[in-house]
Symmetry: D2
Subunit: 342 residues, 4 copies
Amino acid sequence: MRVGVLTGGGDCPGLNAVIRAIVRRGVRDHGFEFVGYRDGWKGPLDDLTMPLGIEQCRGILPRGGTILGSSRTNPLKVDGGVDRIRENLVRDGVDALVVIGGEDTLGVATHLADLGVAVVGVPKTIDNDLSGTDFTFGFDTAVNIATEAIDRLHTTAESHHRVLVVEVMGRHAGWIALHAGMAGGASAVLIPEQPFDIEAICAHVETRFQTQYAPIIVVSEGAVPVEGGAMTVHPGEVDAFGHVRLGGIGDRLAVEIERRTGKEARTVVLGHIQRGGTPTAFDRWLATRFGLQAVDAVAEGDFGTMMALQGTKIVRLPLIEGTGALKLVSPEEYAEAQVFFG
Amino acid sequence: MRVGVLTGGGDCPGLNAVIRAIVRRGVRDHGFEFVGYRDGWKGPLDDLTMPLGIEQCRGILPRGGTILGSSRTNPLKVDGGVDRIRENLVRDGVDALVVIGGEDTLGVATHLADLGVAVVGVPKTIDNDLSGTDFTFGFDTAVNIATEAIDRLHTTAESHHRVLVVEVMGRHAGWIALHAGMAGGASAVLIPEQPFDIEAICAHVETRFQTQYAPIIVVSEGAVPVEGGAMTVHPGEVDAFGHVRLGGIGDRLAVEIERRTGKEARTVVLGHIQRGGTPTAFDRWLATRFGLQAVDAVAEGDFGTMMALQGTKIVRLPLIEGTGALKLVSPEEYAEAQVFFG
Amino acid sequence: MRVGVLTGGGDCPGLNAVIRAIVRRGVRDHGFEFVGYRDGWKGPLDDLTMPLGIEQCRGILPRGGTILGSSRTNPLKVDGGVDRIRENLVRDGVDALVVIGGEDTLGVATHLADLGVAVVGVPKTIDNDLSGTDFTFGFDTAVNIATEAIDRLHTTAESHHRVLVVEVMGRHAGWIALHAGMAGGASAVLIPEQPFDIEAICAHVETRFQTQYAPIIVVSEGAVPVEGGAMTVHPGEVDAFGHVRLGGIGDRLAVEIERRTGKEARTVVLGHIQRGGTPTAFDRWLATRFGLQAVDAVAEGDFGTMMALQGTKIVRLPLIEGTGALKLVSPEEYAEAQVFFG
Amino acid sequence: MRVGVLTGGGDCPGLNAVIRAIVRRGVRDHGFEFVGYRDGWKGPLDDLTMPLGIEQCRGILPRGGTILGSSRTNPLKVDGGVDRIRENLVRDGVDALVVIGGEDTLGVATHLADLGVAVVGVPKTIDNDLSGTDFTFGFDTAVNIATEAIDRLHTTAESHHRVLVVEVMGRHAGWIALHAGMAGGASAVLIPEQPFDIEAICAHVETRFQTQYAPIIVVSEGAVPVEGGAMTVHPGEVDAFGHVRLGGIGDRLAVEIERRTGKEARTVVLGHIQRGGTPTAFDRWLATRFGLQAVDAVAEGDFGTMMALQGTKIVRLPLIEGTGALKLVSPEEYAEAQVFFG
């Protein structure tokens, strides 16, 4: 059997661990051959392949990124894109395809599965906002990087009596902010699921300073103020010191807090360092097990499925679940972080 | 309500996070007062107390160890020990006790609960070998430390054509070896649950060297050879270089491999660095949530329970489960690591 | 003898290590008593003191920030400020003052020394731009944090075929960029000392992509384009995707590269995480030795001096050197980094 | 010009950084070709070569180990060894040889230089015990790893009231123990240069416990007791718990302290994790600059030299200096660490 593998979407620590596990188990226990498709869906679309065997996978377990490359190319938006993919799979003698990616990448996989292509999916989202799985790989790494940053900022906040706002990833779901905020001992955590009240935050800031402990506020990039919760700072504005401020919520929040409380506030936007580099042990373990299970699904002909973690077991779900409703932070889960607020 | 808190047994990253969460939520949301008992069961036995409030818990979240101190004192083995504890609890006006500890420490808690003392337990084992919970805090930290060590040893093994044996914790269960071995890309993982065959290991070593990649073998401290699997190296023996070798399995294994294959082998025994220092984000998150849930159990009068993680939920189990059957690595789970063997 | 200690200016890993060494040696070997002044020069100005003895210094060696607090208060800009300080020193019975700080903080110390106050200085600049000393503490920590970030970004750059621009600290001197760029394997390093040519950078970007390796560009916050080197992107502008871009050079550079080359470019601004948190071993060692030497200078009555590292020796220089000409990256040193450019 | 490169002796973080810098600068600025010799002196002895160009050096900067492999093969101890090397160099068309290694490896280089072979040396010792250079690469990495381990052990020592003995590398010189001990806040540091008095150490242990702070003792593997300083524990003995104890000084010290003070003591032997894995920023910077300077020396025909760091400058010394007197910790330097003792 000849199996194609591709990785699509944004970077996520653990991609190489998935690829390595697929190849090791596929070659060793199922006698498979592999074709590496380069740069996400661009690979099968333009027939960009690379050799993929045990040799190519040596030493990649601890490495970030993906040896296959990635892209955001969406063949559904390319005229005749799906047909070209099917033709290329046939031309390359590929019997089955393992697709590692997020909502968009798996959406294409689902479409191909509906057309009868033998596809198995491995979900990938650093944001951990996928229903059906307890965790996705890459998330633990992102949370640890954010937590270490918060650890570092505590002493600066305290020694210099400043408010520190840390903006982390999470456009739709606040998982990274929630976990890193709890783990880092942030005094407030703001997430997309729960619009924030700027007045309550400023009151919190004032209270913290009265007790001599400077506040650290962790905010998801997708957090928003409550309806009508008048933020007076708008993207692109010039602050009191004559600096232009970026449109990001972290920067706006810091300026707003300065204006309202008179306390110095600084923002740190963690950005891409959250999604690159070596994965944590948890992410390597999870990614490896997703890979093993995915290639077993191929061997068993269990197509149209994707892998998920439930408790400590890897299970297979219908592929469509990878593209369905987001897993959001519930009010109960958010309430846990609030214990440390104020 | 007045609540006592104690920590017993060996060190485990996350203990302070549990204490902090108990106190923050207890003071803020339940109006509790707290009494800190020092050095495990020695505290209530000898009435060694310390103040425990929000002030004492400032800044302890990222710190290893326990501000309460710990010991292995077992009051069940002290004449009249249990009675002294009950008297001291009364004297200190303590209405309920939160006990954070492993099998032995929770065993005493179970005994006291049977006698009608209002006790809630938080399980603690770095070895992750407790039934009923998916993970225990401290384990993720230990696995990450072991994985980082393996990462470091890879290049030495390869550049110097040596066998490297890494001995990790795990007297009865191989969880740390299994996870760190998979995450670190060890070529072989030896655990207590599956006695090892020294001949198969030496064959593995020879094969690895033929492909130019030096082997890294991760071994739990509790791993043993198969019945009759003749290890020729015994504790305390002098090796070929005139060095006395320790009784640990890691050292014995390295010498045995040297004798049988003629390849240089070195051992690294990670020891206490696996259980000290700052916890990972996962362990801080899990420990914090155990603490929140434990103090809620006290508030609800749900005594005789202990906390557990199932999926992403914190649940309460009967305290007796903390002292029951060990959670061992199953043959299926071990088989996953074997994919990378050979 | 009664010795006052203060820390001024921005955060810098190692401040606590200096304080601890001063106190340990002062108490143990010279029989000194200490007065802690809070929040930089604000302390002696407003007579804000705190107890400072061996007890206060327990456990602070690995901690970032400063237990004394800091501020940018400049008494030379306060009417009668210097007189108030001298009165408060007398009132507190302080015989000598150890001042730990950067150019501004040591400038005040120099002024006081000229007026006859018994002052010893310890230089502190994360930017490493102080003449007379090989290195300053905090710098090694900042460089390591920046290097780890670059390590993480490599895989993202390669897997996603993007340009990554990393903005590090360094307003006047490019030391952090130079060291982190060399250590992290950046393809280009831009520093304040050498205005950059945007066309050369874009040519570099094109070349790198032809060889399939995405470029990583490290830029000091104080880097500027060559005279007339037309940057078409200005602070506060809206980019091609409708995002407002910050005034920082990192963001402007990324947008400019995108415009000129059509390649996606992303910026990471490391900001405050470079100056908080636990110091590296080198910085703890250097800070400790500065502290020991500073209190010995007090004991010997060698006032008006500041500490410096020359080779592996700690020497004393006239305090004025801490406020004199900056130590800049020389063309020869910069040329070393250029070997990896292109 | 055709230049051979080899790495000999034990592992040391930064070897790959040296190789990469040599090749990058040699190819780019001097138009050199390179021949990689495998496994130290075994390479030129048995004519084991590998291609060495910019391609082979991609991505190796942050990696531990050496892509060239290493060994302890000493051609001076092989009949006709030196002649075989000279013949192979001629056969391979090698005009000059860059040798990266420690005392033994550079000893062979010196011998070859005396015979007229065009050799340049780069010193390599994790122990930092080479005269003529302020620091050697690899040392900073080892010190940071040891310091992080000590950081982790502090909380265990305190929470469990135990003595912790940390054995670090350093057979003849105590630099790693000195730096890591100072940086980690050890309460005592024992080095080969200053035989220790077991009674003073036990008195120190008792004193520490009276103040409630458990002691951490850092000991070089080469530390010895004072003449007649009766250690009652000998290699290979059985301790009070029936465990055979290794011959290492760390283990012997722990048992001795237990016997004399009745306090529980534990040993951690860091071993090979000190010399593997990714180098710190400092070591990458130093190794890179050694490499640049070494290949410049070749280009300038400045043979028989080795590189050294003096202050922040890389200088060239006669090769013989790499094999001369060891650089030992002076009494004055040791005294600095003693300030924190007791």
